[in-house]
């Protein structure tokens, strides 16, 4: 699957000028409020007719203003989860969910109805009118409705913003399974929550004031110290790949990464599975010597690849750990005190509990 | 047996319904205003017989060629009366001053002066006695005679000019004066048959029984038919 988007459009004072090409999996569109994320996703869905542009999914051209192609939304087969749920007020939850089923092409694959209902916790709501649902309940129904229309691709505009953390934790792995399972459903995912993005996305597109600022594979963008100001200091952090080795009786699992082994709690995947770990720059502690007697069990030997001192009191340190890259944020004072410099070998410490389930992707 | 379809001036309703009941064949009567019906006939209305309240409209029909060479007769006569509320003093042979005096600032109800046959006759009478100009500002003209009658009956208008047939049936009005027939063009109801069935029914209307019925309803027979 490839998604190719080139758009240019004016709304009043605002100009959208975005171009990106992404591969299979989940493409995240990240940007501040008003950056133009919804405008992009609307143009992809066919609801916004841009002044100029081209949108192609897997080589099928959905829009090409130069060639006068502009497929209507119902022929694009894109399941859209709107920022506002937009449930049909005259239909109960069950009928909302089933709305799109009949328009799917006969052989279209898609998740089973029962699974979607269970996952989203909708079974108790099936006979309810949308007007009686809470904000989060509406959004869950909207997600189910889009999934059950058996789309060729999902468009999701901040789908989880109104959901509580535990519910998000239920839904995120399910989206991963959709992406990775037999359906191989690609997703264009708008979010301003970098933890969701880091967990889900394969490809990351950062837009700012209508313009594309950065795009590329998630691993590359997130471990690039230059991305720190764009993404926000608190949110910066590398994503690395790990393989599950074994589960111990006390609930801790051993994972191997290129630089050694980690012990993490609450890993659900079977041994052999490859996972994605997000390690926030601010969660990494550096030590000159290997420390002992700590409750933290994950201590990796690393080499300092680069030091970026920003304007503030902190510095972003790019680390090489085996073949992986990590990012650490420390104070400038610590850089001086510890005598950190490029090429130096030291130890990175992060607590096992630090890598939260939400940050483990596949 | 196909019914005989008659288009007739609305004011004939009571009498014509009674007569129709005595006719051997079924008769349906479509009542309406004379102008409307004349146009309908001209545009192909399925009437066997038409009876209008206005010779002018029958002339118009003839000019349109709608009557072909069928027979046209003047079927009935009516009288014009001046009415007031029940118990009002008679007002014989009034002139403009007497009428204005009797109006007491109220209005004289009548059919529309140019469109409703009864209004046309009323105007002819008033103009003839030189009272039209004085009375014109005090008129309440209606789209049919019955509405003028209702205005007097309800006390909205002080006086009214209607047909004798209308006045006779309403106990809340009294006839103050019957206008002599020479003071206005003859009030005749011309009839024309448009088919053989209509012809037959028209002949029935000329028979004694029918004429009696018309008379019971206050109409006057036309002197020897043609």
């Amino acid at each position: 699957m490839t998604l190719s988007v080139h758009l240019r459009h004016r709304h009043g004072d605002f100009t959208l000028d975005v171009a990106f090409d992404s591969g299979p999996g989940i493409t995240a569109l990240f940007g501040r409020s008003g950056a133009g994320k919804t405008s992009v996703i609307n143009a992809v869905s066919g609801l916004l007719h841009p002044d100029e542009g081209r949108v192609a999914v897997d080589g099928d051209t959905l829009l090409d203003t130069a060639r006068g192609i502009d497929l209507p939304p119902h022929r694009r087969r894109l399941g859209y989860v709107f920022q506002d749920a937009r449930l049909f007020p005259h239909l109960d939850v069950a009928r909302n969910l089933d709305f799109g089923a009949r328009y799917a092409p006969p052989g279209a694959k898609g998740p089973a109805r029962g699974d979607v209902i269970d996952l989203l916790g909708l079974s108790g709501l099936m006979a309810r009118a949308p007007a009686t649902l809470s904000g989060g309940e509406k959004q869950r129904v909207a997600i189910g409705r889009a999934l059950l229309s058996r789309p060729a691709m999902l468009l999701m505009d901040e789908p989880l913003a109104s959901l509580d953390a535990p519910r998000k934790q239920d839904i995120l792995p399910y989206l991963e399974r959709l992406r990775d399972g037999p359906l191989g459903l690609p997703i264009l995912y708008v979010s301003h929550a970098l933890d969701e993005v880091a967990r889900l996305a394969d490809h990351l597109v950062v837009i700012q004031e209508g313009r594309m600022r950065m795009q590329g594979l998630l691993y590359d963008v997130l471990s690039d110290p230059a991305a720190v100001p764009l993404l926000g200091v608190r949110e910066a952090g590398a994503v690395i790949a790990a393989t599950v080795v074994a589960h111990a009786d006390d609930g801790l699992s051993t994972l191997s990464i290129s630089a050694g082994h980690l012990e993490l709690p609450g890993v659900q995947a079977a041994p052999g599975t490859r996972l994605r770990l997000r390690i926030l720059a601010q969660d990494v502690i550096l030590s000159r010597d290997r420390p002992a007697g700590l409750s933290s069990r994950n201590i990796l030997p690393v080499a300092i690849a680069a030091i970026h001192s920003g304007d503030g009191p902190g510095a972003a340190i790019a680390l090489r750990a085996g073949s992986d890259r990590l990012l650490a944020r420390v104070t400038s004072r610590a850089v001086t005190d510890l005598g950190l410099r490029v090429g130096m070998e030291c130890f990175a410490i992060f607590k096992a509990t630090t890598v939260a389930p939400g940050s483990i992707g596949r | 047996q196909d019914p005989v379809t008659v288009f007739a001036a609305a004011s004939l309703r009571g009498a014509l319904d009674d007569i129709a009941r005595t006719y051997p064949a079924p008769v349906v009567v479509s009542y309406g205003g004379s102008g409307t019906m004349a146009r309908q006939i001209a545009l192909g209305a399925p009437a066997d017989l038409v009876i209008l309240a206005s010779p002018d409209w029958m002339d118009w029909l003839r000019d349109q060629g709608a009557l072909a060479d069928r027979k046209r007769v003047d079927l009935l006569r009516n009288r014009l009366v001046l009415i007031g509320p029940a118990g009002a003093r008679p007002l014989p042979n009034p002139d403009a001053a007497a009428l204005l005096d009797a109006l007491q600032g109220g209005r004289l109800a009548m059919g529309q002066r140019a469109a409703v046959p009864a209004g046309i006759y009323a105007r002819a009478w008033l103009a003839g006695i030189g009272a039209w100009d004085a009375l014109a500002p005090h008129l309440a003209e209606t789209d049919n005679v019955r509405a003028a009658l209702a205005l007097v009956a309800r006390g909205e208008a002080t006086l009214g000019v209607v047909y004798a047939t209308d006045a006779a049936a309403d106990t809340s009005v009294d006839v103050l004066w019957t206008v002599p027939e020479d003071r206005h063009p003859p009030i005749v109801y011309p009839a024309a048959a448009l088919s053989d069935a209509g012809d037959a029914f028209l002949r029935h209307l000329g028979m004694t029984d029918a004429r009696d019925t018309f008379e019971q309803h206050g109409f006057l027979p036309i002197e020897p038919a043609r």
Binding site: S45, G46, P73, H90, A129 | A10, R13, S30, R146
Partner: protein
């Protein structure tokens, strides 16, 4: 409120005519309302004006225009008779046409207001779920405007029950064939002492039309309750 046979005929004919006029007008009115609400096209103002015409003109004029165009000698009337064998003037079918035309502006207005109140974002959502345009209309727009369609239908029905001027001008007042309730009432009012029967007919007209109003209210309330939930 007992009626003689002719009055009964008028009542049933009026019902029959009004039901037909309503049933035939609703889809057409819906289409025109949708065009006026959602489309931009050349001549839209003219269409809108044309729809309002029967409201503006005295009913007698409308009836006369119908007679001129749909009468047996009129251009459309002749065409209809030659191609479909359909005769309108002086038939109950013509009474249906007159009632339909007179009620049409009321229907279109009600439906158009309802369509304009539908949030187009819901229609967009339906399109992204794969629904083609007609399905969006049938499954989203139409249910949402149901109260407006119902309101329009009731207005049209009520108007059809009360229509007099255009009907009597176009199809005359032939008992058992084209004599509708209002024509019968008019006829009663033309004879001395006919008031009692006229009043009985008026009461019947009220009963029927108000029954329709109350029923439509009840239906609209059900729809509204379903949308509000519970």
């Amino acid at each position: 409120m007992t009626l003689d046979a002719a009055s009964w005929d008028a009542l049933t004919l009026s019902l029959w005519v009004s039901v037909w006029a309503t049933v035939l007008a609703v889809p057409l009115a819906l289409w025109i309302a949708w065009l006026l609400a959602r489309r931009d096209f050349w001549g839209k103002s003219a269409l809108n004006a044309l729809v309002h015409l029967p409201l503006v003109l005295p009913p007698v004029v409308t009836g006369y225009l119908l007679l001129l165009s749909f009468g047996r000698t009129g251009p459309i009337g002749r065409l209809l008779e030659q191609t479909f064998g359909l005769v309108l003037s002086f038939r109950w079918t013509g009474a249906v046409l007159a009632a339909l035309v007179m009620g049409f502006p009321l229907m279109v207005r009600a439906m158009r207001l309802a369509i304009e109140a539908v949030d187009p974002r819901l229609e967009d959502a339906a399109a992204t779920l794969g629904a083609p345009r007609w399905a969006v209309f049938a499954r989203v727009t139409l249910p949402l405007i149901a109260p407006g369609v119902l309101a329009g239908a009731v207005m049209g029905f009520a108007k059809a029950m009360g229509e007099f001027g255009a009907t009597i001008t176009f199809v005359a007042n032939i008992p058992g064939q084209t004599q509708t309730l209002p024509s019968a009432i008019y006829t009663f009012l033309q004879i001395p002492g006919g008031e009692a029967q006229a009043i009985a007919l008026v009461l019947w007209a009220c009963v029927v039309a108000l029954g329709a109003v109350v029923m439509s209210e009840w239906l609209a309330r059900r729809v509204a309750r379903r949308i509000a939930g519970s």
